[in-house]
């Protein structure tokens, strides 16, 4: 892709309602992601990282601030036209379609015919290590296989930006490590720009090029893994990262 500027998030505020009051889930966050880069958003549960991701996707309303891609503000663009991909923690595969039907969904929406979809589906399934899984029913897949299909599905329409919302949190430890490696490899091979949300530091270090640390709705620090280990803005962050 020849986009020059990638994702720009400036001073974004997202609120949620609790007991009749509106509280900030994301409180004035700004960062940039250059094309081809994988940014990890690291933080404990409830720090607002998932909400921020959904705001970038267009699924949450911005109270303030802006999200833009390649310089163009995305506020007037509806969800299904942003060209972003989203991968959930539990995959959210369509239960009434088989694996190939799931992976091909985005291609179908883009208007590709069956002849054009089939080779791409095959290519993607091979990339995630699920060759030959085309006709399998979704209910028969294991957790790890599901997430691989979800990854293939979200990559199929070649999204400009891939958003991953704790994609490995629901899997057990061994599977997580394996899948994190595969995820990093696939993202590198396809040169996909991505924002990857997690609460697990090892995952963040394995997959992301740069990491942003979030705490209580604010982005407290951004840097590479090495930079983060060396510095540490305050005690809470260091305790969270562990030295």
């Amino acid at each position: 892709m020849t986009t020059a500027r990638g994702l720009e998030v400036s001073d974004v505020v997202v609120q949620y309602e609790a007991d009749g009051r509106w509280l900030p889930a994301v409180d004035g966050v700004s960062f940039e992601v250059t094309p081809g880069e994988v940014l990890g958003l690291l933080g404990p549960s409830g720090c607002g990282k998932s909400t921020l991701l959904r705001a970038i996707a267009g699924l949450e309303r911005l109270v303030r601030g802006a999200v833009s891609w390649d310089g163009a503000d995305l506020a007037p663009v509806p969800v299904h036209r942003r060209g972003f991909g989203l991968m959930f923690q539990d995959g959210q595969l369509f239960p009434h379609r088989d694996v190939a039907g799931n992976v091909a969904f985005g291609l179908q929406m883009a208007g590709l015919g069956p002849a054009e979809r089939a080779p791409r589906v095959h290519e993607l399934l091979a990339m995630v290590g699920l060759e030959g899984f085309e006709r399998r029913q979704v209910e028969t897949l294991s957790g790890g296989e599901r997430q691989r299909v979800a990854l293939a599905r979200s990559l199929a329409p070649t999204p400009r930006l891939l958003l991953l919302d704790e994609p490995l949190s629901a899997l057990d430890r061994a599977l997580r490590e394996q899948l994190a490696e595969d995820l990093a490899r696939v993202l590198r091979e396809t040169r996909t720009t991505a924002v990857f949300v997690t609460h697990d530091q090892d995952e963040a270090f394995a997959v992301a090029d740069r990491i942003g640390v979030m705490f209580s709705g604010k982005l407290v620090q951004v840097g590479t893994a090495a930079e983060l280990r060396a510095e540490g803005i305050d005690r809470s962050v260091r305790a969270f990262l562990g030295n």
Partner: protein, 553 residues
């Protein structure tokens, strides 16, 4: 939500709103106006007139008495039934559950005829001399509503965590004590919800009371009908309709509050606790349920079938053969089979209308908007669309009669329109369609829709790709339900049907209203045919019921 999405959803909601506005709000409103005014000015003398007659008070008292008795017995017998059929398991339980559900879907005329055949002189229980008594009416009402209690309370009970009761037992409480102090209080929301629905159905019962009540017993419903068709006293009928609406509104309010409490409570319980086998300690509820099943449910249905096969010359199919005639002494204007044809045609039309309107309502009401005002709007719409369920079919039919002549001042007379009967049946069926579709639509994971949207699906394509496949089964259930209900609809149809195009329930009512062994035999045979058709449709539709549906119906 953007302005465009508001407009889009507004259009989707507009169709059912227009339908209900014209065919429910307008007739009901005209009815109320008629009761409160004469020639445009407020005139409460109608109320004075109606309430100064002791007959009115007798009828109102009877309505409440029979509704209360029906509710008490249905709930009292239904709780052990719910225990046996939903809290324990035994071989063949699915059959018992299906049998218990059949009464609810039978047309009211069929139930009236079945109990008449059972209790009249010459019937199996004729010696009890219960024909034409309040006991007969209450028994028929319990027959109908037993399954409502069993399914509502049972469905809730099945998901109740048994460990609370087990803890009480371990602490030394005998089983009945543990039940009374732990389980029963936990069941109260479900019991209240079931009781209020049953009370509503009993208070608005029409066909059953008309057939079993004779001239002594009646409800507000039958009184509206009698005042309209026999005394031509539209004023009194309007006043009584207003009374009916007030009663129904009050019950719906209680029922709605109980339902919301139950839905909140549901979030706290475990999902489908494992069920033990029915054991010796369960003899009391098992015996009670068995007795109800045999005496109250199976016996009338058996009696209906058996007596339909009996003629003056012994066992034969003569009554069924007579369905091709017009009855003894020309009681009918066409053959019974012709009436069946009319019934099926109107039911098909009514089902089509009800499913389209109901699906649109379900789509709108299943949205979960982020903002509070949006949620309020959805709740209001939910309540508005549920109103026809509570308002009696008689009120709908009567309202059509008086409102659709020059509606809204336009110079058209819709009263003789052939489409009136299907529309009235559709109005009655829409809430049932919505209640079948709504749990499934609400259960669709919103993130599934979001995933589809992220992959490039516009809102319309999201509906096609995500909502529609998941709702397909529930749609089958809704279609079957609406068709069965329309086939057996009697209350509204009795006001609106043209004499030359009667439906089968109307014909059955005419046949049972005329003495003569031949007419009675034909009424029985026609009832069996209608019951078989309705049951077949419902069983087909039940196969599409989603596995863990927890609706009231």
């Amino acid at each position: 939500m953007t302005a465009r999405r508001w407009v889009g959803w507004g259009l989707v909601a507009a169709v059912p709103l227009a339908f209900l506005g014209l065919f429910f709000v307008l007739p009901t409103g005209t009815l109320i106006a008629r009761g409160f005014s004469t020639g445009g000015s407020l005139d409460l003398s109608g109320f004075g007139e109606v309430f100064s007659r002791p007959r009115t008070w007798r009828i109102v008292g009877l309505t409440f008495l029979q509704a209360t008795l029906g509710t008490v017995f249905a709930v009292g017998l239904g709780i052990p039934g719910a225990y046996v059929l939903y809290r324990r398991r035994f071989r063949g339980q699915w059959l018992a559950r299906a049998l218990v559900t059949v009464p609810f879907v039978l047309p009211t005329v069929v139930v009236g005829v079945a109990f008449r055949s059972l209790l009249a002189e010459g019937g199996p229980l004729g010696a009890l001399h219960l024909d034409g008594t309040l006991a007969a009416i209450v028994a028929a009402l319990v027959f109908f509503n037993y399954s409502v209690v069993v399914r509502t309370v049972g469905g809730f009970w099945a998901h109740l965590d048994p460990r609370a009761e087990q803890a009480a037992r371990v602490l030394g409480a005998p089983p009945w004590r543990a039940f009374l102090s732990v389980t029963l209080p936990a069941l109260v929301p479900a019991i209240t919800a079931a009781a209020s629905i049953v009370f509503l159905f009993c208070a608005t019962a029409f066909g059953v009371v008309l057939i079993l009540g004779g001239i002594r017993f009646g409800t507000i419903e039958t009184e509206i009908w009698i005042q309209t068709t026999q005394f031509l006293n539209l004023r009194a009928a309007s006043v009584l309709s207003v009374v009916q609406l007030v009663v129904v509104g009050a019950v719906l309010g209680v029922s709605g509050a109980a339902r919301r409490r139950r839905e909140r409570a549901l979030h706290l319980t475990a999902v489908d606790a494992a069920r033990e086998r029915l054991g010796r300690a369960d003899w009391a509820p098992a015996v009670a349920t068995g007795l109800v099943g045999v005496v109250l449910i199976a016996l009338p249905m058996l009696s209906l079938v058996l007596r339909s096969l009996r003629t003056s010359r012994g066992w034969s199919l003569q009554n069924y053969a007579n369905l091709a005639t017009t009855g003894g002494r020309g009681v009918l204007t066409g053959t019974v089979w012709a009436a069946l044809g009319n019934s099926v045609r109107t039911a098909v039309l009514a089902t089509a209308i009800a499913v389209v309107v109901g699906a649109l309502v379900g789509l709108v009401v299943s949205r979960r908007p982020r903002s509070r005002s949006g949620r309020r709007a959805i709740e209001t719409l939910d309540a508005v669309f549920m109103l026809p369920l509570g308002v009696s079919a008689v009120t709908v039919g009567f309202g059509f009669l008086i409102a659709l002549h020059r509606p809204l001042g336009l110079d058209i007379d819709l009263r003789t329109w052939w489409g009136l009967v299907p529309v009235a049946q559709a109005v009655v069926a829409v809430p049932l369609v919505v209640r079948s579709l709504l749990p499934v639509l609400r259960a669709i994971e919103p993130r599934l829709r979001q995933a589809a949207a992220m992959l490039g699906a516009s809102p319309w394509r999201v509906f096609l790709a995500v909502d529609l496949p998941m709702v397909r089964r529930a749609l089958g259930l809704a279609i079957g339900f609406a068709f069965a209900v329309s086939l057996g609809e009697f209350g509204a149809t009795s006001f609106l049907v043209r004499p030359d195009r009667p439906t089968l329930p109307i014909v059955i009512y005419r046949l049972i209203g005329r003495p003569g062994a031949e007419n009675l035999g034909m009424a029985l045979a026609a009832s069996v045919v209608l019951a078989a058709l309705t049951a077949a449709v419902m069983m087909l539709a039940e196969r599409w019921r989603p596995a863990s549906a927890m609706g009231e119906l």
